[in-house]
């Protein structure tokens, strides 16, 4: 990403004479706009289907996005730093296959979770070494590893599937912490807080922004660019491993085609959340709201009996339109000034 797009797309930042008040800036922010969209979809859904406004139904709806959102948090940091990881869904497939293979030998739940997360970390480290260590472009590398990771699942499983997971393993994907709050949803909230603090309140988070805005300046200011990028790939692998545990536990089985196409939905979620695909800008709050928007849209369409592949048209359109709209708006603003 960084090698392909810097140089020509980085526009010069204009510094206004006077900053707007915090309140007006908040009103004009992408996050608030997105929040309004989320509220509008929520209202539209409750009007369109009588089954929508029900605590348990809404709780079910969260399963649509929690696993993808877990990965989206790490992906947001990666994209802000100017890289991308298209292999996340393939990591889920490989981690799930590893857990499935271990489960057939009768391994208990703690061991399975360790294997799932361990596989995710190993895959993330592999991506990290290739991108940060060998300085290769992350788009092609992760297209390659995407093929490799899922390919290994296909070699292991072929057209078979793993089942026979221990009974208590199902808790991660199907269990509830309290009342309607599922384990996945609570994990989603906790991880949102963790990544929010990491990105917005730590040195590491600031370094991520600097690297995304100007990798060269980052290096001159003494930021260990390669190490930060490696850690980000590791984090993305970790979150993919955790998502694999949740998804496998929820489905109770593993096929090599598990989570097919999720990389697109994760990237869409991140970009919809206001993270610049060119790097350097974005917030975790935006990603959290984007997760809700996508979850509500797919759940609402599901209640209206829209088939999955048609929903993917909406997701694709959502991705392009959300990126195109600010660009068109900026054009119009420019045209007015001139």
């Amino acid at each position: 990403m960084s090698t392909a797009t810097t140089g020509e797309t980085a526009t010069r930042r204009q510094i206004p004479d006077r900053l707007g008040t915090p309140f007006t800036r908040l009103l004009a922010s992408w996050e608030v706009l997105l929040f309004c969209v989320a509220v509008a979809i929520f209202i539209a859904n409750s009007l369109a289907s009588p089954y929508f406004l029900n605590a348990w139904n809404l709780s079910d709806a969260t399963f649509n996005f929690t696993e993808k959102a877990l990965i989206a948090f790490a992906m947001a940091l990666l994209i802000i730093a100017g890289e991308i990881d298209l292999s996340v869904a393939a990591i889920i497939a490989l981690a799930s296959t590893a857990m499935g293979a271990a489960a057939q030998t009768g391994l208990g739940t703690p061991g399975l979770v360790a294997i799932g997360i361990g596989t995710g970390l190993a895959c993330g480290a592999f991506n990290g070494v290739l991108v940060a260590g060998l300085k290769l472009p992350s788009i092609v590398v992760t297209i390659g590893t995407m093929s490799l990771f899922r390919g290994i699942s296909y070699i292991v499983l072929g057209d078979q599937a793993y089942g026979k997971y221990p009974a208590d393993f199902a808790w991660f994907g199907q269990g509830y912490v309290a009342w309607v709050f599922s384990f996945e949803f609570v994990l989603f909230l906790v991880m949102a807080a963790v990544f929010g603090v990491l990105l917005h309140r730590t040195n590491f988070g600031r370094q991520v922004y600097v690297i995304g805005n100007n990798p060269l300046a980052a290096r001159f200011s003494g930021i260990p660019v390669e190490r930060v990028k490696f850690i980000l790939f590791l984090l993305t692998g970790l979150m993919s491993g955790i998502a694999a545990v949740c998804l496998t536990s929820r489905l109770g089985s593993t096929r090599p085609s598990i989570a097919q196409g999720w990389e697109l939905e994760v990237v869409t979620m991140v970009v919809l959340g206001g993270v610049s695909i060119l790097g350097g800008a974005g917030t975790i709050a935006g990603v959290v709201i984007a997760a809700f928007v996508m979850g509500l849209v797919t759940f609402g369409l599901g209640l209206l009996n829209v088939p999955g592949i048609v929903m993917s048209i909406f997701i694709g359109l959502l991705l392009i339109v959300t990126i195109a709209l600010p660009i068109i708006a900026r054009r119009i603003k420019h045209a007015r000034k001139a």
Binding site: V140, V141, S147, L148, V267, I277, I309, L319
Partner: protein, 329 residues
């Protein structure tokens, strides 16, 4: 000698020959001319698609929507042929190219006029186009008995010992060589990827070059849509799923730099043939076809590592970049 060894295309050709020789020791008939012609024919569609992909990559973009474009166009012409058997085949083929080019133009338009990164645009249109194939067909199949014999047989007709599909691939290879090496568009494609700033100073419209590259890639994908459907005698929503990765792999193996501006037509053809030989050899040497995906992955990664070493260092920018940026924006 050293320069010959550094010639990437020659090296790749040698590797392919060694591979064919190696496989021939395990299965006697593998290196027979008839089988090699068969492998070439089997790889023809990949070659055609990879050449379109290559043009896009040369301009520093990427087109992940080619396989979805192929699926939609293939479905469209197959359904037309099934519904109106009287339509002349030539019209259907022209239609396939036009539909493909139109879908490519949508990608190119978004990249050119809205300056959205190509990877995002084509990730989006990849799902949209395949979703459109589902909407068009309602999830149904078009089977061999519904298509007209002419529609099905054209790519298979033998001419001078080779099927028309192979001849078509050869013709497109020659045409692409001409377009990229001997036309202003081809040269501007190299220039816009190699150094966009310098290209702007040289009076090249980088955005337009990218747009045309996407249209070309779309047109070839549309043509491949017809070829795929008639060759495999079936059209359904999921045909060629994931094939976009094979086209990128063929380019990367063939030495096309993902950063743009570097690569040759013959390299891309060899990259595609490399994958084609492996694909055809797996069953021969008794490896499960399920292994193919992982092998492609390994080969892509190795090729990227190899390319990164081979790519020359970037030139220094002497003129100020600012004016060029304003031109680009």
């Amino acid at each position: 000698m050293q320069r010959l060894l550094k010639n990437r295309e020659l090296l790749l050709a040698l590797i392919i020959l060694v591979m064919i020789g190696g496989f021939a020791t395990r299965a006697a008939g593998f290196a027979a001319p008839a089988n090699l012609a068969n492998i070439f024919n089997d790889t023809s569609i990949l070659i055609i698609l990879a050449l379109g992909q290559m043009t896009v990559i040369l301009t520093k973009s990427i087109d992940l929507s080619v396989a979805a474009n192929l699926a939609f166009t293939g479905m469209a012409v197959a359904m037309l042929d099934a519904a109106y058997p009287g339509l002349p085949l030539a019209l259907l083929i022209v239609l396939a190219v036009v539909i493909g080019a139109a879908l490519g133009a949508i990608n190119g338009f978004l990249v050119w006029l809205l300056q959205i990164p190509p990877i995002v645009v084509t990730l989006g249109t990849l799902t949209i186009y395949r979703g459109m194939a589902f909407v068009l067909s309602g999830g149904g199949w078009v089977n061999a008995h519904q298509m007209t014999p002419d529609f099905l047989n054209l790519p298979r007709l033998p001419v001078l010992g080779l099927p028309i599909l192979s001849w078509l691939a050869i013709a497109i290879v020659l045409a692409m060589w001409f377009v990229l090496m001997r036309t202003p568009f081809g040269r501007s494609a190299y220039a816009s990827g190699g150094n966009p700033t310098a290209a702007v100073y040289a009076g090249i419209d980088v955005g337009r070059a990218r747009f045309l590259a996407f249209v070309l890639s779309g047109a070839l994908a549309g043509l491949s849509g017809y070829l795929w459907v008639s060759r495999y005698a079936v059209a359904y929503v999921d045909i060629a799923a994931g094939f976009e990765l094979d086209t990128v792999a063929a380019c990367v193996i063939g030495g096309i730099s993902i950063a743009g501006g570097i690569g040759t037509v013959i390299g891309t053809v060899l990259g595609a043939l490399f994958l084609g030989v492996i694909k055809n050899a797996l069953p021969v040497i008794g490896i499960s076809p399920f292994a193919q995906m992982a092998i492609s992955g390994v080969v892509i990664i190795l090729a990227v590592v190899f390319n990164a070493r081979a790519e020359k260092k970037k030139g220094r920018i002497i003129l100020r970049e600012r004016a060029a940026k304003e031109k680009l924006a």
